[in-house]
Amino acid sequence: MPDLLPPFDAHRVFVAPWTTDLPTYGWMTLMAFLVTTACGLVGNYLILRRMALVGDAISHSVLPGLAVAFLISGKLTLPAMLAGALGAGLITTFLIEFLHTRSRIKADAAIGITFCSLFALGVVLINVFASKVHLDAECVLYGELSHLALAEHSLGMPVPVLVMGGVALIVVVLIVLFYKELLITSFDALLAGSQGFAPGKMHLALMASLSIVIVAAFESVGAILVIAMLILPGATAQLLSTRLPICLVLSVLHAAVSAIGGLHLSLILGCPMAAAVVVAGTLLFGVAWAISWMRQRARTIVSDIHAVVS
């Protein structure tokens, strides 16, 4: 199996991406960082609200939204994409809610039925109108960061990076503006309701921003890897800290490290970069898991010593 890995060359793997190939790899790394940041920040709240699998559902069902938007508008435009994704996200949330309140179907089965059906619809639409929609099925599953090299430039940077940067900025601004509301509705929806914070509206707003983040990330990382981007940073951060602001900062850090790590990993292994970023993020999660485990061990040992001493 020697040809499974490309021949290792330290210059090609570690030096070239930051010197001669910077124009290509720089944008790809920046894009990976922006995607992981935006997803990770939203994902923190998803994990707190125990809605990680709703993120899973929406990331799948954005696909038919995109396909329909393509069919209506005929080409790939930003407003059409956003509208399609928003529509799909809200329809998914509504359908899940509808199925499990209006019948004896449990919430987990409702999630499964909804996103599988919508995703299947999306794949069929794309396959049937393949010539019309230049969004191929492979891209949905792998995501292709290297497409960035082909993208048009505007304001001195590739357009997808510009869009993703905008989305990430919006997410940050929204979190700063509505920090208190998000915090209270995530931890105690009943208290939030009694204080007049409208948890229902915050839920919808979160779903809407989730759909937008997912659609912006879609082309670069695909429908399934985006789930990792949503959950990994938040999960890693929450293993290390119990304070939400620290968690948010840590997830941005996680995003940065996994984007850079993913770049080098993909060059070493010769595999798609989006997947490599997730693998790097998983490794970071493993490290955080080990740290939190050791901290727990240390704490029990210390308390044992205290018990013995006293």
Binding site: D3, I47, A52, L71, C116, V124, N127, I224, A235, A276
Partner: protein
């Protein structure tokens, strides 16, 4: 590409109005629909026969196991498993650089078990909840799989391996070995479910109880997880990694809407699973090179939607319709009751009840009363005089009106005499229950109350004889009963 257009167009038409111009796609290169359909139904194509057999086995296997998955609220476990086995598939392929189904099965099953262990390790040792752990394992294992596949595709042997067919599924890509493997795993499932049924039933609904009986709950659980990963891995070839979990969820969820007993759910979901799989294969066959998985899932969700809307007991529309008819019946009975009260006030003269009086009693505009009387006439419960001003009971209408009034008054009496309610507290309660009391309950009430003749407010209770008497003078005041 001709047929799929016609299949999917109606769906699109529902979604968007100006899809027609978008739908004008590539020129026709494939054979016509009818020819393809004929080929499908005559089973003349040996590879088609194989694919079809595979679909039947797949539907059976997933349907049976899915029943337990849905009942135990583990739907998303199937989803996690199906994404997480991807690196196992790639490793199985790397074993000897061919698509050897057995190697892939072993690799994928090992990785599947590893993923489930990781989920339970994360939930046990950290603060993360199960959903986050599942999402995390699902996507990170999947990413590792994608990395491996990306590396495999650079290999000279990997490029034409067809390993990418695992992502969306292609039933036609199955060969004899795949089918044998599927038959073996489906057989195992069938045996397991048949012989372990009682244990599995206990496991599904009350695990702790099963443990207290000394049943091998842990063994059954792990054996089931193993069979589920077998099912997922063997089905992946035909349905694809992403959608295979749908085959574990949609048929049993549909079956759950149709019946209450677990064994019926299992049988039904196996049947629905088979039908779904065959339909999916059929549509994808018509479109030649289309992936099978999405069509199977769409067929399944169509069946699910129909069941969700129209299932006799659980259907959403059926229930709405039932509520609506119930509401209409109650309104009708209230009108009859008002007519009875009027007739009673006038000492049951033989004359009819004027619409105007009825409107006053029910405190409703005359227009609405006219609609109500039309409804009564349609139901043959009353007749209207020629000039349209007076209502008369028909025998059936009289019977219903007296029955309602009797229910109401008996209940009031029961509440005051036996339950010791105050006489001024009982009316509202009786207003509700008069519409639902059954014949047996009424007889029992009469016996308990010793065949009463007047209610707490001193009004006569119509007895059985009055109810069955003609509209003529009721025999009120004299002892009646059954």
């Amino acid at each position: 590409m001709r047929f799929p257009k016609t299949v999917v167009l109606p769906v699109i038409w529902l979604l968007l109005t100006n899809a027609a111009h978008a739908a004008r796609i590539g020129d026709l290169t494939e054979t016509s629909i009818t020819e393809q359909a004929l080929r499908f139904f005559t089973f003349s194509d040996p590879s088609l026969r194989l694919a079809l057999l595979g679909c039947i086995l797949l539907g059976l296997n997933c349907g049976l196991l899915g029943g337990f998955v849905v009942v135990r609220r583990m739907s998303l476990v199937g989803d996690t498993l199906s994404h997480a086995v991807l690196p196992g598939v790639a490793l199985g392929f790397l074993w000897n650089h061919t698509k050897d189904p057995l190697a892939i099965l072993i690799g994928a099953t090992l990785v599947g078990c590893l993923s489930m262990l990781t989920v339970s390790a994360i939930t046990r040792t950290t603060r993360l909840k199960e959903d986050a752990a599942m999402g995390l394992v699902l996507s990170s294992f999947y990413a590792i799989g994608i990395c491996l596949i990306g590396m495999i595709q650079r290999l000279p042997s990997g490029n034409k391996s067809g390993i990418d067919k695992f992502l969306f599924g292609q039933a036609a890509a199955m060969n004899g070995h795949d089918i044998t493997l599927m038959a073996v795993t489906s057989g195992l499932t069938l045996l397991f479910v048949t012989f372990g049924y009682r244990g599995l039933l206990t496991l599904s609904f009350h695990r702790a109880f099963g443990e207290s009986l000394g049943l091998p709950m842990g063994f059954l659980h792990h054996a089931m997880m193993l069979l589920i990963s077998f099912a997922v891995v063997t089905a992946m070839q035909a349905v694809g990694v992403v959608l295979v979990s749908a085959m574990l969820i949609i048929p049993p969820a549909t079956a759950c809407l149709l019946t209450d007993r677990l064994h019926r759910v299992l049988i039904l979901s196996a049947i629905i699973g088979i039908a779904t799989a065959v339909f999916g294969a059929f549509f994808s066959f018509l479109g030649s090179n289309l992936p099978t998985g999405p069509f199977m899932v769409l067929a399944g969700s169509l069946v699910f939607t129909m069941t969700f809307l129209f299932s006799p007991k659980q259907g959403w529309l059926t229930r709405l319709w039932r509520q609506q008819t119930q509401k209409c019946r109650i309104e009708r009975e209230n009108t009859l009751k008002a007519m009875y009260h009027l007739a009673e006030r006038y000492g049951f003269r033989e004359e009819g009840i004027t619409l105007l009086e009825l409107a006053n009693t029910r405190r409703e505009p005359l227009e609405q009363i006219r609609q109500r009387s039309d409804d009564l006439i349609r139901q043959k419960l009353a007749t209207l005089t020629e000039d349209g001003s007076m209502l008369h009971f028909t025998p059936e209408g009289w019977r219903k009106a007296s029955a309602i009034v009797r229910n109401h008054r008996l209940w009031e009496l029961y509440l005051t005499n036996i339950m010791q309610y105050g006489a001024d507290h009982v009316h509202d309660d009786a207003e509700k229950i008069e519409h639902v009391l059954g014949e047996d309950t009424v007889r029992q009430l009469e016996r308990r109350l010793d065949f009463p003749q007047t209610d707490p407010h001193g009004k006569a209770i119509p007895g059985a004889r009055d109810i069955h008497a003609a509209i003529a003078k009721p025999n009120l005041g004299k002892p009646t009963g059954y």
